[in-house]
Amino acid sequence: MRETHTTIRWSHWRRWLATSAVLLTLFAVACGASTPPTAVPAAAPAAAPAEPAAAAAPAAEPAMAQPTAAPAVPADARALTETRQFQSTPTPEAAMAAATATPAPTPTPGTVFTAKDTIYLVTQEEPVSLGTFSDGCSGNVPSMICEEIASDPFTWIDSTNFEVVPLSGVESWSQVDPDRWRFKLRDGVTFHNGEPWNAAAAKFGLDWSGDPTSGGGYGFHGPISGEVVDNLTVDVVCEVACPIFPRTAIFSPFQAPEWYQNASDDERERNTIGTGPYKVVEWRPGVEVEIEAFEDYVPNTAFDAQAPSIKRAFQVWRGESLVRAAMIQAEEADWAVDIGFENLEAVPQAKTGTNNEVFTLVADNIWHPELSKKGVREALALGVDCQLLMETLYDGLQECIGNISQWGTVGINESNYADYGYDPDRARALLAEAGYYKDNYDSADNNFDVNEEIRIHTRAARVYRGLEMFESVVAGWRELGVNAHVVVLEPNRAREARRSGCGKFVTTTDGVKDTTQALACAEQDPPAPFGSTTHYYETATSNEALDMQRQLFLRNSCFNVNSRVCNLVPGFDGLTFEESINDAVATPLGPERTRKMEHLAQIIHDENWFLPFFVSVQVYGMAANLEWEPRYDPRIRVNTMRFTQ
């Protein structure tokens, strides 16, 4: 018996030893195969410097896969952004110059291709469509071909100084009336199929862009239409005053009208015949998109309007950031977006740039019984140790901010951009003043669940470590006695949450809008599709045109479905907040517009209608011999890339 017992015990141990050996072997393989964690440089997101010619110098140096090498990014992002702010805030002279910009035409050099004539670009997912007029051509990196590579919009925003510049098809522009801009087009520009670029073709695109059913640029400039003045002159007519149209014209796609009108639905989805520096060769669904340099592209003076130097490009896609980084390491790709902070040191060259999206929580300022109180909102803002979160979760690469549009936006200044800071004692006092704490709340035991619930509604994997961040925020709020929870919503439900604002009460009958109900949205129940208070919902809101106009209309107007603000406080000069928005938006560029926008942005900041965190940073992986600088937004132009060898 004893011998048998010993045999059994020994067999048992042998089994455990063998199992442990196998698991350890697998573990060792895994650790040996993975890149060792390295210290991420505590530097700000790389931003393009003042001069395009010097773009390479202060930006991140090629970071070889050595733990000790640090990209040479500016040590102080604040200094960089201040420089940017000084250059971007329009002075009266700058505003007039920008409004009537007449860049000198540049002789067209022949296209010179680099020795390495093919580039592989890796994005997160396959484009939904390649048609620039398609609803599926949305403003994200996977849609870069249809958005800004195959089709040149009228204008572009220079990432170094935030000034508006013309692309290939435009020579100059001037404001004729408050609601009319005149664009002088360049001669000799053609579409990819040889159709001429002229005022009629531009009108075709403008009419599409201004149609509310078309989406796209409509969200930036509202209803517009084109009017032919002569063969190379077209007027843009806005339904309402549009003083910053050249800025919003960065979202004005154009396609060869004859081709488009005769193309089938499939052809319209699978191709863009634009005037951009590259044309679509083939889309192999699920595999890759091939584009090639348009040899008749007419470059312009702007950096982003230069002739392409790489002959062919392929867009491929991989859902995992590690795989995208691995492709760079294995030299299967030359450029990859969003490789993640953890892979920064793994690739031959890594650069960071903002993607213009402000990761923020939108408070339900109207229907939530507690979030409708300013004291509660202010307390919740003060109860977030944002600096600690940025250092812990993002190695200091993200910067805490206090407003919903990035630095450099007209309307943003030091005061209304400042982070709220961390003051839990003050937060508790504010909550008590606002009557948040119920009678049976016991601060000693912190039985927070007796108080009114406040949720954070978020989506999964929207922003790197977003969920971890919100869990931390909620933990901090609970310390204050707030009954807080994070709820991850399925994508469709998350959209419903975002789109259940006051604008849902706007009705249209026979083409006539009735906004009465929207203006009185606070007196009604929360609208469908969400149907109840959205508490805080998370969003990453972009503003590529860099003017507060967009955020005011989108997030602070009674008439937008995304908004939870409707005349909650007065505006300026005795106007309601809604009236102030319209007044500011109609004001021409200059100090007066800036003053009004800053006033409204200050109200947004002080009222805590939002809880902004940071401008999201995008990490790009690149081949060692690729030269390219990230922009302030995630708009990618392959003609700005070149191989150095």
């Binding site: 393989v29 939904v128 409509y218 595999v287 991989r318 795989v323 604008g503």
Partner: protein, 309 residues
Amino acid sequence: MRNYMIRRIGHSIFIVAGLMGLLFLAINVLGDPVELMADEDASQETIDALREKFGLNRPLHIRFADFYWDLARGDFGKSLRHRIDARDMIVDRLPNTAALAIVAWVIGMFGIPLGMLAARRPRGFVDRIVNILSFAVISIPQFWLALMLILLVSVQLDLLPTSGFKGLGPEGWKYMILPAMALSPLVMGRNAQITRSTMIEEIAKQYVATARSKGLAETAILYGHVLKNASISIVTLMGDELAGFMNGSTVVEIIFGWPGIGKLLIDGINARDLPVVTSSVFVIALMVMVINLAVDLIYTWLDPRISYS
């Protein structure tokens, strides 16, 4: 047999029709595809215009009737998201999913001889090794294994491409290796386990003792008698696994950029893209039914006592 086949096909049509109906209701009740289709910041006018453009503003019962009518004609419609024919999208990707599934499944069949080796001498050295390894590979998440294979085989050793797809011809075979290696261990482990346990069960039966006492060689007993009797369970599992692969190995497809049905279906569900979802589910259901039918027919060959007459 013929009557049986006809009955099975009839049942299958009925099941698929019911499944399609459930899908339609689920997609339409659980969310609005137009809200997902439009840009996040799109105006309500844009949303309403899109809804009208795709006929989604019609009453549900009318859309339901149109849906079945189109289904009967084999018209799945155009993808709401991509605006191209949904059936074409599936047909393009089906061979990719099938090829990867078959390769991974064939590799997984190596688990059967391993299970047989283990069953020859229960609690012996080989049995213990097979047992440990099969449990280990079943426990490894495919996601992790796929990423580790990329880092080790492609990045560190530079033996194979990290990911991608270059067709199913000679040029594309090397792109299939890592995805198949990521998929097959789980199948291999399960096959080894099931084979081992069913064979041990069979070996313990009286007829094996009789065969041994008659002087038959051990190999003849194992392969001629035991394996055949044990193979009902093995074939059932193999059919189930192949059917599972045909659903599309979504995680592996995403990681390796393999253009298969799995990712298409997941994207379609997330986007409430009814045409893509119905065409994917229809094709997958069809394949699963064919596989189940084949398994049932194989039963009759393996065990003459089974008859569908």
